[in-house]
């Protein structure tokens, strides 16, 4: 008797639970409210920006009662890619993502992106008019096969940061920063302080951690006259080349020959910390760190172009806004409204002042707040000026693994475990292997 009563109770519980579940599932379909969209974003510089992002999205929601956007924090740039891909594969694509600019090609190859041409056309603007708002250097990472796939949101270039006070101490003139690798090596030697065998102040610090390391290698290779990858085709990288060998050899020499750069692969935050604390007199770092340096440096600093060996050239960094493939029309339209609003001159100028990234929208620099800001902080101009010599950020099929193929080897070199030449040969071999399936499908597939 007891048993059957228990069974009855269990059945009653189960059926009421099922009813509740069914009710919960039915509600969203019936409710007529604002279109709900989510925006995936990585935190670019510092935790406080997560709060700034909240402010930005709240402002958008207040101005657009028919849309309810939620900002979803998604980790680092690499984590954001993993999460976006997993969400797309699970059938729950986010409506918009702030995606590292160089992941767009790989996502397009995998059919994970919405082609934005139709949305641009529906607004009554041409592609040329739309792209014309942004700095030309940024278009390489946003346009694939002449179609628009991304909208530049916050972008960066690497910069040379100099501790002006320390430069003056050793008789260097910070108003004439080093322009070539030879001058930079000379500066770094003069700025390195030793007590016996122990170094108390390093001449220069260059970051090398996943993501950053590949970007710095591209920077050095480009200013050495070379290229990192085929800008027009996603199946080729040029790791084992003279320009790359020269770049890595110079970096290696700074560490082991001139002993002006601390040995080992140093992550970005450690580099900026050591510059701010005076432990390193110069550093190469993103303009995205400029606001942090401005707020924390207790000394005069100076930012300059990345010095050249052969030519002045730097890669673009930062992120673009994308719309994943497979969204329903209503969400797609709402996401497009959000993207246009976020990349408008006023909003991108505001974000630029908060972060240090430069605003990709050229009209941002004509807003009164920005003119005023640049007058007070002339150091924010350097990255914009450097855009004249900027080129796209490396983007290939399977960008992250191909980048790691090189980064693993560069780290071995900086840790003193390998010589540049053998490291680059190994990196090339590994990358060719990673790119093989794509090449088999495209460039090696003959009729």
């Amino acid at each position: 008797m007891l048993f059957s009563r228990r069974l009855m109770f269990g059945l009653a519980m189960a059926s009421s639970l099922a009813a509740t579940l069914a009710g919960a599932l039915a509600v969203p379909a019936m409710a007529e409210g604002p279109t709900e969209i989510d925006l995936f974003f990585p935190v670019p510089v510092d935790g406080k920006l997560a709060r700034d992002m909240g402010t930005l999205i709240k402002e958008f929601n207040d101005g657009h009662p028919d849309i309810k956007a939620t900002a979803v924090y998604t980790g680092s740039y690499d984590d954001t890619l993993i999460k976006t891909r997993a969400a797309i594969k699970a059938g729950k694509p986010p409506s918009a993502v702030i995606m590292s600019a160089n992941f767009l090609l790989d996502m397009q190859i995998e059919n994970e992106l919405t082609n934005l041409d139709a949305l641009i056309k529906a607004d009554g603007t041409t592609k040329e008019q739309f792209l014309g708002q942004f700095f030309p250097a940024l278009q390489g990472n946003a346009v694939i096969n002449r179609s628009v796939y991304g909208v530049p949101f916050h972008n960066s270039t690497p910069l040379l940061y100099i501790n002006a006070d320390k430069a003056k101490e050793v008789g260097l003139d910070p108003s004439k920063p080093p322009q070539t690798w030879a001058e930079l090596t000379d500066w770094a030697k003069k700025l390195t302080k030793r007590e016996g065998d122990k170094v108390t102040q390093w001449g220069i610090a260059i970051p090398c951690a996943y993501d950053y390391c590949g970007w710095m290698m591209e920077t050095l290779t480009m200013s050495n006259g070379g290229r990192y990858y085929n800008e027009e085709f996603g199946g080729e990288v040029y790791y084992d080349t003279p320009s790359m060998l020269g770049a890595l050899t110079w970096w290696n020499d700074l560490v082991y020959k001139h002993k002006v750069h601390a040995p080992g692969a140093t992550p970005g935050p450690a580099v900026s910390t050591s510059f701010i604390s005076g432990n390193a007199a110069m550093m190469m770092l993103s303009t995205g760190s400029l606001t942090y340096v401005r707020d924390n440096a207790k000394f005069n600093y100076k930012v300059a172009f990345i010095p050249r060996n052969v030519r002045n050239a730097v890669p673009i960094g930062g992120a673009s806004l994308i719309i994943p493939a497979g969204l329903e029309a209503g969400k797609q339209k709402a996401a497009w409204t959000l993207i246009k609003w976020m990349t408008s001159p006023e909003k991108s100028a505001w974000w630029s002042r908060a972060t240090g990234y430069f605003a990709p929208n050229m009209a941002a620099y004509k807003t009164p707040e920005m003119v005023d800001f640049l007058n007070k902080n002339p150091d924010a101009k350097t990255a914009v000026e450097q855009l004249d010599v900027a080129k796209p950020w490396f983007a290939t099929y399977k960008t992250v693994p191909v980048r790691k193929n090189l980064e693993d080897e560069v780290m071995l070199v900086l840790n003193g475990k390998k010589q540049p030449k053998e490291a680059l040969v190994a990196a090339q071999k590994a990358a060719d292997e990673t790119l093989k399936p794509y090449n088999a499908d495209t460039s090696l597939k003959l009729p």
Binding site: L25, D46, G75, D79, A87, A90, S277
Partner: protein, 289 residues
Amino acid sequence: MKLIDWLYKDTPLATRGEITPKLGFLLTVLLAIVWLIPFLWMVVATLRPASDGINAMAELMPSLKPTLDNVRDAWEIGDFPRYTLNTTIICAGILLVQFVTITLAGFAFARLDFAGKSLIFYLFLMQLMLVPVLLIVPNLSLVARLGLYDTLAGVMMPFFASAFGTFLMRQAFEAIPTELEDAALIDGASLIQRIRHIYVPLSMPSFSAFAIISVTSHWNDFLWPLMVINSPDKRPLTVGLSVFTKTAEGTQAWGTIAAGTLMVIAPLLITFLIFQKRFISSFVTSGIK
């Protein structure tokens, strides 16, 4: 010679070849100090005012004018009480279901006879060799199809069965003499009653050891909750904390990070301090078996 004499003074002759209690104690203290340094640094960095400058950040000497600014900053950026609640729900939920599944599965592998038992057991153990990252996409699409995307239940689900736990319980149950079960059988105890009144009480140390491992690993898990959870109010502590620590282009507010980290580990740390004796004894006994 005097030092050695002192170290060996009250050791029985038979164990003189082994590490003496005093030397062992010395080594323990040394290890404890090494372990304590990063923790002390975190506390010092949390209380250090930003005006001390980043230079002082690496120092272990506490600041003369301690401040709670960093704690306030971290507190404002992240909704820590909510994150702690979410993490607690996740860890407790996983553990409760695991207790049921590993007890039953462990018992089946230890005491029941069925065809292909060893083969199934080894297949089961192979799960331990898989890197969790490998399963992210299949797990996520399953979770989404079950309607559990962006829910705490979705975070917990893949961990309801544990290969490690099953293995641990199988070992524990096998060590229990079958005579005890036979006696219960004579008294007419059902299968569930035998598990409930004989196997479970006698394997308590193994259960607590497993609980510690399960809770700490899910407390620290980052990638899987990041994949499943979208809503800010469902974030667990690790995802909430990474808002400070995962930077893309190279700057960090160490004071805030230290304060945030301290808040994240505090609940686990306090639990450990309270139940210290139990924790240690559970590992020791389960180790002897």
